[in-house]
Each structure stands twice: as structure tokens, then as C-alpha cells.
């Protein structure tokens, strides 16, 4: 049974559909990457999966169980973690408090998971008593991902985790995503840096105008001349 499956999903804001029948399947332990031009509905799809957007048609299944239109806190309970692209930390809370909030529903996890998150992101340990609002963009992204990991999700949704980061941090984040995945967490992420993202993707979904244009393994999409020409800038 796939970890996450989207079947012919339609949805949008205020009656206007942005998603016009998106299909996606991610097995456990896979990295799925959504790429595509601006306005293709990439982030919208991620939000639909996390219940931040009404799905008007189609269904989304987590381990075979329908989850579309469930509120986010229910989805966290069911093992889904979400890292928004912007405003993804609590600026006045310390790094440690930010992480603790991620385990709000599983307070028993805090000690064990804090240790694990600090192992994934060693810079956070040194800054644990600093307000997250004082950190650099890359460190904030680490806090945001760490926060989502605290609930021990089965699948982690990342919305453009490398947006606005320097190349150095970008590589670092991609490395961490691989490691998190290797630790047994399924990943579904939206990325602007399509080439780098597809390079680590087990599955790639190229969206355009709210529909699947190409769906294949990351390597196959990178090798496909048509994908390269239209979506990866040659």
C-alpha cells in the first residue's frame, strides 16, 4: 500500500480551481519532488495534502485511509508533518521551544526527539536558547524542519525548503533531506531548484496548469530531453 496517494485531486481557493486533477503516489521511504513553472499549483497541491485547502473532487489517501479535508492537527496525529515556505518558525520562542511545539501532541517524545533533531542539525544545539527570530534563513529552515520532525512523522511535506538560501545552505538542506529520508521518513517536497531536487528524488512530478505533465523517477525526468527543454531551462 502506498504511503501517500492522491487520486485525481481538484481544489483551489474561493471556487476557482487551481488543481485540475493531480495524481501522485509515494511509497514509504521515498522522496517525492514536485516541480513545475510558477503558478502550476505545486504549493497548492502540498497545502491540499495538508488540509489547508478544500479538495473539491478526488481523494487523498494516507496508507489507504482517506485524509482529504481533515484539519491539520488531525493530520499531525496521523503522522504527517508540514513545513511551510514562509513564516515557518515562532520568532519570539527559543529554538528549543520551537522544537517542543512540534511535539505538542506527543509530549512524551520531547526528550528523545530533541536529541535526534540536534543530531540532524548540530547548529541548532548551540543556538537552542536563542529566539528563532534572530537566526539566519538557513538556520530557521533547520528549526522549521526540526519542528516538524519532533512529532515523528511518517511523511514530511516541505514547501520550497531552499527558497532564498545561499548555495551553501541549499546543499546542506538537500543533504539533510536525504538523511531524514534515510532514517525512514517519506518526503514530499516542492522545489524551485528543480535539477538539484530531482537528483535526490525517487519520484518526480512535473506539474503545469494544475495537472501532471510528466511523472517518473527523478533520474528519468532529468534525462528526458523534453522535460529538460520545457521545465529545467535546457
Amino acid at each position: 500500500m502506498p504511503l501517500l496517494e492522491a487520486r485525481d485531486v481538484y481544489g483551489g481557493y474561493g471556487g476557482m480551481n487551481i488543481l485540475n486533477g493531480v495524481n501522485m503516489t509515494i511509497e514509504a521511504d521515498e522522496v517525492g519532488v514536485i516541480v513545475g513553472p510558477n503558478g502550476a499549483g505545486k504549493s497548492t497541491m502540498l497545502k491540499a495534502v495538508f488540509g489547508l485547502l478544500t479538495v473539491s473532487q478526488g481523494e487523498i489517501l494516507l496508507r489507504g485511509e482517506p485524509i482529504h479535508n481533515l484539519p491539520p492537527n488531525k493530520l499531525v496525529q496521523k503522522g504527517m508533518g508540514f513545513v511551510p515556505q514562509e513564516k515557518n518558525v515562532f520568532p519570539s520562542l527559543t529554538v528549543k521551544e520551537n522544537l517542543e511545539m512540534g511535539a505538542f501532541l506527543k509530549p512524551g517524545n520531547v526528550k528523545r526527539m530533541l536529541k535526534k533533531v540536534y543530531e540532524f542539525f548540530p547548529p541548532l544545539y548551540d543556538k537552542r536558547h536563542q529566539p528563532a527570530g534572530e537566526l539566519s534563513g538557513g538556520q530557521r529552515q533547520m528549526v522549521a524542519m526540526g519542528r516538524a520532525l519532533m512529532a515523528e512523522p511518517e511523511i514530511l511535506l516541505l514547501d520550497e525548503p531552499t527558497a532564498g538560501l545561499s548555495p551553501l545552505y541549499m546543499n546542506e538542506i538537500f543533504e539533510r533531506v536525504k538523511e531524514i529520508n534515510a532514517a525512514g521518513v517519506g518526503i514530499l517536497m516542492v522545489e524551485q531548484n528543480a535539477k538539484q531536487a530531482l537528483a535526490i528524488a525517487d519520484k518526480g512530478f512535473v506539474l503545469a496548469a494544475g495537472q501532471n505533465r510528466f511523472t517518473d523517477t527523478g533520474a528519468a525526468l532529468l534525462a528526458d530531453p523534453e522535460v529538460a527543454k520545457s521545465f529545467l531551462g535546457g
Binding site: 495538508f50 489547508l52 484539519p71 491539520p72 492537527n73 499531525v76 496525529q77 508540514f82 511551510p84 513564516k87 515557518n88 518558525v89 515562532f90 520568532p91 519570539s92 520562542l93 521551544e97 520551537n98 517542543e100 511545539m101 512540534g102 505538542f104 501532541l105 509530549p107 519542528r147 516538524a148 512529532a151
Partner: protein
């Protein structure tokens, strides 16, 4: 030295009393703002409601205080806190929650809270009448402590009343308790998280409805403390707290809206500004009378404003802060 005692009695103690009450009130206002992003105008009447509950309970069980050696109203306070917290949650469920569910603009909630103000005031008048009532009933009376200073030539004692001492103790307890709650407890941290970023709080699995309810419990409980201690210090009146609305909001804004520590600081700033503004400084000048110019030495009343204009002081502070430092002493959430 007598002049110094006069200063302690009329500025230090009086300022701390109003400062404490404003601070406790302003914390509630600021917490409600930081979680629900609207100015809750019915807050002052929740204070009156708390005092009203104490009045009812004291009437129902007179003389209970004698058993434990405290004034009966003070013994009834915990129960009144619980009832007022319940009222606050109930008001939210009945009036504000449906509005939030419709996704209205904050100003609609503000106007809704004005309606709640009128309703609460009417309700209290209906049962308590319009006149002033003493919370000390059935032979109990306000203890007044006169502490004579063991210094030669000092005749005037420092005067402090029992409710004032209880007020100071409860203020310190409330502030310390709130600090521990916000920084140590899971719910308190979640409350700060929601104030920072409600969407992310939801995405973290924090049940925002619970946080809203907890906020009302704290705001209501604190309001009951402030209202009751104020009524003990003076007397209970249905419109007693309503006139505190301006200084309380001034305190919350001075401190930085949405910032609990700011609200506490703001409360004391406004409280002391008020008492200093109406304080008759000529008393302090008396010892130096011989070396002062005649116009100053002869002046009978050197207060900045008359007592009857006390209410303009917070108003002036409010205007000044909004002009020079709109985010308040601590950087609050910009309105």
C-alpha cells in the same frame, strides 16, 4: 521626615495600588489581544463581575472569613475567580466564537465586546442595584495598619490597609505565576506560539480552541482578582471598573500590545503617573520653605492637575505613546 511619610502614603502606596490593579487588568487585555487580535472592551466589566460574584458569595456565606482569620470577601475570591473564568469562556462561546467562525474583521469583535460591556453592566445593576456597596459585611471591617517609624520627630505613621497588602501579595503571585506558566508549561508555550504565528501553531498540531479557552480562563481569573481587590480598597459599584477601561488600555498600549510583561510595566507607569500628577508637591517643599522664592513657598497646592482630572493622565500618556513610540515600551504587536 513627616513629609517623606506623606509621600510614601500618597504616592508610593497609592501608586502601587492603582498600578497593581491596572497591571492585572492590562495583562488580561494584552493576552486576549495577542491570541485573538482584538481589543476586548468588556474586560473592565469582567472585573466588576468578579467583584459582584464576591459580593453575592459574601452575602450568602457571611462570617466565613472569621474562621480562617481573613476578610470573608478574600476567602470567597478563589470561587469568584473560577466563576468569572467560566463567564469569560461562556461569553467567548456565545458571542465571539460565532463571529470568529465567520471570519469577521477584528473591529466587529471590538464592537461585539462593547455590546457585552453594556449587557454585563445591565446584568450587574439588575441584581446589585446602582448604588455603592461595601464588601465588608456583617460586622467585618477593613483592617488599617498604622506603622509608626522609629525615628525621632516623625509623628505621621505609614498607613496601609489589609486589602492593599493582599492586593500586593496577589499581584506578585499572579505575575510570577504567569511568568512560570508562559515559559515553563506546555500550554503556556503553545499560547506564546499561537500569539507568534497562529497558522504554524495549527500546523504543529496545537489545538487553537484550547488555547483560546485557556486565555479566557486566565483573563477572567485575573479580572476577578483586580475587580475584587479594587472593590475592597474602595467600595463595590456597578460602574466601578468601567472607568478603569481607559487607564487599563493605556497601560496595555504603553507596555506594547500583546506583551504581558509590557502590560505589567505599563500598569505601574500609568498608576504612578496618575498619582504623581495629582500629588500636592508643596508638602514636600515645606522643609525648605525658608530658602525658596516667596511665590513657591506660599503656594498651597502644587499638584500638576486637580484630583478630579486624574482620568486625563492616562489619556495624555496614551496620546504621547501613540505619537512617539507606537509599539510601546516593549516592542508589541503592531496594531
Amino acid at each position: 521626615m513627616n513629609e517623606l511619610v506623606f509621600f510614601i502614603n500618597n504616592v508610593l502606596i497609592a501608586g502601587s495600588v492603582s498600578g497593581s490593579i491596572y497591571a492585572i487588568g492590562a495583562v488580561g487585555v494584552t493576552l486576549v489581544f495577542s491570541i485573538m487580535r482584538f481589543a476586548h472592551f468588556a474586560h473592565a466589566d469582567m472585573m466588576t463581575f468578579g467583584a459582584f460574584m464576591v459580593l453575592l458569595l459574601t452575602l450568602a456565606f457571611p462570617g466565613v472569613g472569621g474562621v480562617v482569620g481573613l476578610p470573608t470577601p478574600v476567602v470567597m475570591l478563589p470561587l469568584a475567580i473560577a466563576l468569572t473564568a467560566l463567564l469569560a469562556v461562556g461569553i467567548d462561546r456565545a458571542f465571539y466564537k460565532p463571529l470568529r467562525a465567520h471570519g469577521v474583521k477584528p473591529i466587529v469583535l471590538v464592537i461585539g465586546s462593547l455590546g457585552v460591556t453594556l449587557m454585563l453592566q445591565g446584568l450587574i445593576r439588575l441584581f446589585a442595584g446602582t448604588g455603592a456597596q461595601n464588601l465588608y459585611l456583617a460586622g467585618e471591617r477593613k483592617e488599617i495598619y498604622r506603622i509608626a517609624l522609629p525615628i525621632e520627630g516623625v509623628r505621621a505613621p505609614i498607613v496601609i490597609t489589609e486589602p492593599q497588602i493582599i492586593l500586593f501579595v496577589l499581584t506578585v503571585t499572579a505575575v510570577v505565576g504567569l511568568h512560570l506558566f508562559l515559559n515553563r508549561s506546555r500550554l503556556g508555550k503553545a499560547m506564546r506560539a499561537m500569539s507568534d504565528n497562529p497558522d504554524l501553531a495549527r500546523a504543529s498540531g496545537i489545538n487553537t480552541n484550547t488555547i483560546v479557552a485557556v486565555t479566557w480562563v486566565i483573563a477572567g481569573g485575573l479580572a476577578a482578582i483586580a475587580g475584587t481587590l479594587l472593590s475592597l480598597d474602595v467600595t463595590f459599584k456597578p460602574d466601578l471598573s468601567f472607568f478603569l477601561l481607559l487607564p487599563i488600555f493605556a497601560a496595555a498600549i504603553v507596555g506594547g500590545v500583546g506583551h504581558p510583561y509590557g502590560a505589567i510595566a505599563g500598569g505601574f507607569v500609568v498608576g504612578f503617573a496618575e498619582t504623581l500628577a495629582v500629588f500636592n508637591w508643596s508638602v514636600l517643599l515645606r522643609p525648605f520653605r525658608d530658602s525658596l522664592p516667596e511665590w513657591l513657598a506660599q503656594a498651597g497646592n502644587l499638584a500638576f492637575v486637580g484630583t478630579e482630572y486624574k482620568i486625563v493622565v492616562p489619556f495624555f500618556i496614551l496620546v504621547a505613546i501613540l505619537v512617539w513610540r507606537p509599539t510601546g515600551i516593549f516592542k508589541g504587536k503592531v496594531i
